[in-house]
């Protein structure tokens, strides 16, 4: 019943938080000797750049809330980061990670 603007949680916010956290973990595990690390870093840069664009221009110029933005571009770029990271053996995609790795201990 609350208007969307007042609801603190949205799928879009989760997507942004999860993608940032995932990138941090990837960067923590990445070492420059891994073949393909440059491509992975390029993917991460694109993802972060999309997040900046959407958050700065999207919220300012469009509807004013993260919840209502169309974040399909961000979702696609995040998938690309996850696939490349998995391919390089650095980190599984979130969908395939063992459940205990998704909790802070």
């Amino acid at each position: 019943m609350q208007s969307v603007e007042r609801i603190p949680d949205s799928y879009n916010k989760l997507l942004i938080q999860a993608s940032c956290e995932y990138c941090l973990r990837v960067l923590g595990k990445l070492c420059t000797e891994v073949p393909g690390h440059r491509e992975l870093l390029a993917d991460i840069r694109k993802l972060i750049s999309s997040e900046q664009d959407l958050l700065i221009h999207g919220t300012r110029d469009q509807v004013g809330t993260v919840a209502l933005l169309n974040l399909q571009v961000l979702e696609d770029r995040f998938s690309s980061v996850q696939e490349r990271s998995e391919h390089l053996g650095i980190l599984a995609t979130i969908e395939k990670m063992p459940i205990d790795q998704l909790f802070d201990r």
Partner: protein, 213 residues
């Protein structure tokens, strides 16, 4: 339930849609498969089963569907995590990361996408409420908030109904179908809104008598 069965169909709000799909399979800490179910899923499924058994259609608006995808999934998930029920089912005591919430939200979105393919669910893409009716309905709610007796029916911390809620109420009026909702600010005023011609019927999700079919 009888009042809902008197109609050809029932309109679901975003909450009802998410309650229905909140049933996902996960692996617990030792790899066993467990089912994670929302607190209202059983009720939502039972109501839907009864309606479908009587060949009734379920309807909703595109804006309500989008609200379910973008907002309600996540807020329902956060609520279940906050009360600890999901962690308990999975046998994990730590703090869930946002990656965990995203994974479950993704599963719920997939379930919701599956619901979209059901032939008994009709998502109305074209209904646009009359702006004058929306304004009139907003004024009615402003009046409710100024009336000491009506004020008591507005749950604490809740503001005016959102555009999606108002659209669903007016969709009920336009289609002459009942709206099923868990929003007290809507169903508490069912009689007033019906008398004023703003809706056909607003049925409270928690008050549906599952044995009165």
């Amino acid at each position: 339930m009888r009042d809902l069965l008197a109609y050809d169909g029932t309109i679901y709000d975003a909450n009802c849609l998410v309650y229905y799909v909140f049933y996902i399979q996960e692996s617990d800490s030792v790899g066993n498969s467990v089912i994670i179910e929302g607190p209202y899923t059983g009720r939502a499924r039972r109501i839907t089963e009864i309606l479908l058994a009587k060949r009734k259609k379920i309807r909703t608006l595109r804006v309500a569907w989008e609200e379910a995808e973008k907002v309600t999934i996540s807020s329902a998930l956060k609520e279940a995590i906050r009360d600890g029920s999901i962690q308990q089912r999975l046998g994990l005591k730590g703090k869930p990361t946002s990656m965990f919430e995203y994974r479950l939200a993704g599963r719920l979105r997939a379930e919701l996408a599956g619901l979209k393919r059901q032939v008994w669910l009709l998502i109305e893409p074209a209904f646009v409420p009359d702006p004058a009716r929306i304004s009139a309905l907003k004024k009615v709610y402003e009046a409710f908030c100024l009336d000491p007796e009506k004020q008591k029916l507005v749950p604490p911390g809740k503001g005016d109904p959102s555009f999606v809620d108002l659209s669903l109420v007016l969709f009920s009026s336009a289609t002459k179908l009942p709206l099923l909702t868990n929003d007290r600010e809507l169903y508490n005023f069912s009689t007033d809104l019906k008398t004023m011609g703003f809706c056909e019927l607003i049925k409270a999700f928690p008050h549906v008598d599952l044995h009165g079919a």
